[in-house]
Amino acid sequence: MTTDSGTEFADTPDFRKKIRAWLEENCPEDMRDGAGGEGEICWGGRNWTFASEGQKLWLERCAAVGLTVPTWPKAYGGAGLSREQDKILKEEMTKLGARSPLDSFGIWMLGPALLKFGTEEQKQHFLPPIARGEIRWCQGYSEPGAGSDLAGVQSKADDKGDHWLVNGQKIWTSYADKADWIFALLRTDRDAPKHKGISFILMDMRSKGVTTRPIRLISGASPFCETFFDDVKVPKEQVVGEVNRGWDVAKYLLTHEREMISAGGQTMGAGRPLGAVLADSETGASDPVLRADAMRTEIDALAMELTLERYKDQAEGGQGVGDASAMLKYAGTELNKRRLELVMAAGGSDTLAWEDGRAPSWLRTKANSIEGGTSEVMLSIISRRILGLGA
């Protein structure tokens, strides 16, 4: 399986040396600028237009050796790396300033779900195109009426014998207008208790009856969409896991997502060090209110970084993180909001012009503690599942 790629990383003892050499040789010059902004991401997909020849080459070369999804099994387009090796790969990429060759909800979300819950056939069919960047996925969980009550899904997939008939509406589907396929939670049994009648279903966005509409946020244009399903026919085999047990898949992915968002929130927050933010500010040095806030925020940010590190160490040590990911999500996103409040206050009236760019970032952070489970839901998870408080 891997010999045809001409390289063999997973079983190499001197991994760091090899990977470094491979990166040096294969990463195009314009993919070595360390950029990771929203605009530089390579999302892939049917309609993807490469920003440069370098971006295209980089994706192809990585895909050829499984490095778009390094920890996935080789059989499905990955490189079969261990966590430890993956860490080394990331370190070497950072050293070189190498961009990520491919990012997608397929890699982050659907892949892990299929690897855990998918049939062998589904894995064979869906995973390799994700790894090669050929199919771009989006996620259809939230609905206008449901909010934090994710299991309150109303969009339905009715069993029509040889197919599902899907009707309803999803909201907050990121990049739905650009995605090729969607994985969605749909109600397949309206009589069962609400967690027991949901299925995890995959749909081609080109299907008749699927439409999308972008959502404008208070911070400006956004990748979010509303997605409508109007008598959409979906093949029966496109259910992941058991019918009516989609909540298990969703729950697994939610925990996974929380860890990612909190880590992401942290990265976002990291941006410029607060010291530099304050040093630029005219009153940063003399205003005790601003200064004390900055000190607190810096201290908490450092503690947050160490906690992410500790949880990673725990996960590697075999002690799972589990529900404690709710803590990372809660603390990380709340911290990020404080951070951007401080950036605005330190920057004063300069930040009040749209073109300055700080205000959209500030406004956008307000969604951090809502998306992927609100802070209130996180606190409830902690108090019930970790602390054992409850009725």
Binding site: I218, W354, K366
Partner: protein, 371 residues
């Protein structure tokens, strides 16, 4: 001192103001203006003028209704509730207070123009990103009987729309304040696209010639004069911000009662109840500080600094809490541009910076309280 409750007259004014603004300046009007790329609403301003609001601080002799600061705060609060776009604060509060203090014939005429709606003002003060009236670099050099102005101003709220500009400058004997029409040779106004969709501008003065009687005070009394204008503005802005906080809060509790999650209204969740109750307490405390600032400005304006800074600091903080909780408690919908909460959040941020932020006013309070 007058009691810390609204008088019958103030209640009537409030009812009238709310009716006018809900009719002519609801939040949907701000949205409309924004979508049209507009930052002014002349029809609304003329309606306010007709209702006597432009002349709320103008003496009757100059065509005003002369109802005082507390009454002006009633109006400002209502404007905050609906995020009204108007030059009220710059013109009817700050400029009118300054002009009234001058008391000369030229200022009387300017006050008449304010009350009649033929003149609007912007205050050109900030030269950097933070409010700092004590560091003014814009230079006023004497030339003959007049002056020549050189320098730059930023974050001039209402700065591209106003017919007149009040400019704080550094003269040979200290701070001085000029009152000039905005269509002056050498004065360039560049409007800023602000997050709250209101008008603000950057002003560049390049050898702007002004005549001697455009200087509002002759003998270095600029700082004093400015103080009255600023404190009037800060207090009115506190009232406006207080109204904003109250409206955001009401929108939020309304939503809590209406929105269902897990089969029950989210208002039944105790954690949200307690946070809402805490926020209500904060609003109550802030309301007192605002009422008090109005009473002091009317009865003892020489000693209003503490009261005004207290009101501005409290209002700033309370409004920020109200909009943060507002967005969070609304969840996803609160983040959408289609919903109004975002407008409140943006206006609260601008109001927080304008005329001095929390830290600035907290330092004032500390200084006056001996630390």
């Amino acid at each position: 001192m007058a009691k810390l409750i609204q008088t019958e007259e103030e209640n009537m004014l409030q009812d009238a103001a709310r009716a006018l603004l809900e009719r002519s300046a609801p939040v949907s009007r701000l949205r409309e203006l924004r979508d049209q790329g507009q930052t002014r609403d002349d029809a609304l301003w003329q309606e306010m003028v007709a209702a006597g609001w432009a002349g709320i601080l103008v003496p009757e002799a100059a065509g005003g209704v002369d109802m005082g600061h507390a009454a002006a705060h009633v109006l400002a609060r209502e404007m905050g509730r609906t995020l009204t776009v108007s030059p009220f604060l710059s013109t009817a509060i700050i400029a009118a207070t300054v002009l009234r203090r001058c008391g000369d014939a030229r200022s009387q005429a300017a006050l008449s123009d304010i009350a009649s709606g033929s003149r609007t003002y912007a205050l050109a003060l900030d030269e950097s990103a933070k409010f700092n009236p004590e560091h003014i670099a814009l230079k006023a050099e004497k030339r003959g009987n007049g002056y020549v102005l050189n320098g730059e101003k930023q974050f001039v709220v209402d700065g591209s729309n106003a017919t007149h500009v009040m400019v704080l400058a550094q003269g040979e004997d200290g701070l001085c304040l000029f009152d000039l029409s905005a269509d002056r040779a050498g004065l360039t106004r560049t409007s800023t696209e602000m997050i709250d969709s209101r008008d603000a501008a950057q002003l560049v003065f390049e050898n702007v010639e002004v005549s001697g009687d455009e200087l509002l005070v002759a003998d270095g009394g600029g700082a004093d004069l400015l103080r009255f204008g600023l404190e009037a503005g800060q207090a009115a802005l506190a009232a406006e911000t207080g109204g904003l906080a109250q409206a955001a809060f009401e929108m939020t509790t309304g939503y809590l009662k209406e929105r269902k999650q897990f089969g029950v209204p989210i208002a039944s969740f105790q954690a949200l109840q307690h946070r809402a109750a805490h926020l209500w307490c904060e609003i109550e405390l802030t309301t007192s500080a605002i009422l008090h600032a109005g009473r002091i400005l009317d009865s003892d304006p020489q000693n209003a600094t503490l009261a005004v800074s207290l009101a501005k600091a409290r209002a700033t903080d309370t409004a920020q809490l109200a909009v943060r909780e507002g967005v969070q408690m609304h969840g996803g919908i609160g983040m959408t541009d289609a919903y109004d909460m975002g407008f409140y959040m943006k206006r609260a941020r601008v109001a927080a910076e304008w005329l001095g932020d929390y830290g600035y006013h907290a330092a004032q309070v500390a200084r006056l309280r001996g630390f």
